[in-house]
Symmetry: C2
Subunit: 148 residues, 2 copies
């Protein structure tokens, strides 16, 4: 099986991983969530070779996660904006950050503040029915017969 084939199996984790599960992809998206938009900024911050960065940006634009938009003419230059589909990857970013805060750093490098309630707050994964935080052992998976 090829990694690209993950996009064709009937599994939502696999299909998402086929879009973002490459070296560097989530780091590029991290820059986008921080407000970076430009190729040169991605490249200098991440220290990526052009071939890797071009490949990742191509996949993300092909998949509708980023949109490539001109911001100047003569010469034409483009920037990369998160689409609504791309912005919906924010919970993935937060889940990665939470785990890193817990296990990989003594002092969290970034604190999130929820503007709607105005206080420092973290985000966590909770049950939509009862609102309690969820953990693996508390969840059962009902799997469709055709699921991969």
């Amino acid at each position: 099986m090829r990694h690209d084939d993950l996009g064709d199996v009937y599994c939502s984790v696999a299909r998402t991983w086929s879009v973002i599960g490459e070296r560097w992809t989530m780091m590029i998206l991290r820059e986008c969530f921080r407000g970076e938009r430009r190729y040169d900024r991605f490249r200098s911050k991440l220290g990526l070779g052009a071939n890797v960065l071009n490949d990742r940006l191509r996949v993300l634009t092909d998949e509708g996660v980023l949109e490539r938009v001109p911001y100047q003419t003569g010469p034409v230059r483009h920037e990369y904006l998160l689409t609504p589909k791309g912005a919906d990857l924010y919970p993935v970013l937060v889940a990665l950050m939470n785990w890193g805060d817990r296990y990989e750093n003594d002092v969290p490098p970034v604190e999130l503040i929820h503007r709607d309630c105005g206080h420092p707050a973290h985000a966590r994964m909770t049950c939509t029915r009862c609102g309690e935080p969820i953990a693996w052992r508390a969840m059962t998976a009902e799997v469709q017969p055709a699921a991969w």
Copy 2:
């Protein structure tokens, strides 16, 4: 910058990505969350070459995400179990699944049921302070001066 160097920068997303942000890694963890433990099962399900699977399992055990435990003697065979640190990657899995359910599949392949409340339920990322679902545009990041 090398991908392995992400483990040394002061960013929780980067450090987490240095552990799981490789082709196939999250798919191996998906199998673990489903209850699979054995090398041959990972290999046959994912269709991976031995070199790739060995490398990913080595990283995950070195990082304390999986524990390699003998389950028989003569010959000795091992299985791979999620540690508590590994089990805490569940919100990452759920975040990936939610996005795939929304954008990549018409019918979700897997439905999650929260045993504590006994009803079909989804998990979503919510604010720890007010309990409301969070989205990128509703959050502000306060960044430590030394953060990468």
